[in-house]
């Protein structure tokens, strides 16, 4: 399936991109994150387990157990600092 993956703030800067379309068979957000980490380089660094990374699915805060589906919009970003 194809999903849109967005990145923000320090993660966007580290990856040098704000968005990409990813072809994946990952069943969950956790599995998708693992696939991205497996790419190595900046992905491995900025999305590594143990790093403070928050995830959203279809524009709502989510936890990584959530299931992925075709056409979904996933976002990875650091803890938020607005207000």
């Amino acid at each position: 399936m194809k999903v849109t993956v967005k990145y923000f703030a320090s993660i966007r800067e580290a990856l040098g991109r704000g968005s990409e379309t990813v072809e994946t068979s990952a069943a969950s957000l956790a599995a998708l994150r693992d696939e991205l980490v497996a790419r190595g380089g900046a992905y491995a660094q900025s999305l590594a387990r143990g790093k403070a990374v928050r995830v959203a699915l279809n524009q709502a805060m989510s936890d990584e157990t959530a299931a992925l589906s075709e056409g979904g919009e996933v976002a990875f970003f650091p803890p938020v600092t607005g207000g």
Binding site: A52, A56, A60, A75, P78, V80, T81, G82, G83
Partner: protein, 162 residues
Amino acid sequence: MSASVSIQTEDFNLADEVAALRRADKRVGAVCAFIGTVRDRNADRDAATAPIESMELEHYPGMTEKAIEAMIDEAQRRFGTYGVRVIHRVGLLQPLDQIVMVAVTSAHRGESFKACEFLMDYLKTQAPFWKKERTPEGGGWVDARVSDDAALARWGIDKRNT
């Protein structure tokens, strides 16, 4: 209950926003508003260090508005507020600039005070905004604060950001 959320680069005027909230709603007996502004220092940069020169605010278009609208629904459910207006600026800001405004109307002061604080506590840890500071040494992304998670937890909401 009226509610509106704006994410914008432009500045805002508190008096105009409060006037619009109160307009034609004769039930309103209380208005509470909060404004957050850009400081030239933060928790890690005391008065002895060089001040912050500017700040860049990034957000997640689409999700930001939805997240804040959901918070407003929750505030309205908990406190029975009448009107809520939230404005959050993005882009390049300088010390002294206004960043965020939350204004709430209700019948009596208690609901407005509570809803205003609740909304700010929620926004600090659950709305997708990120601040990057520029200082004479270069600057960097602002770290999230554990104390902001604690502030939201006071309302019985366990959604950790840090």
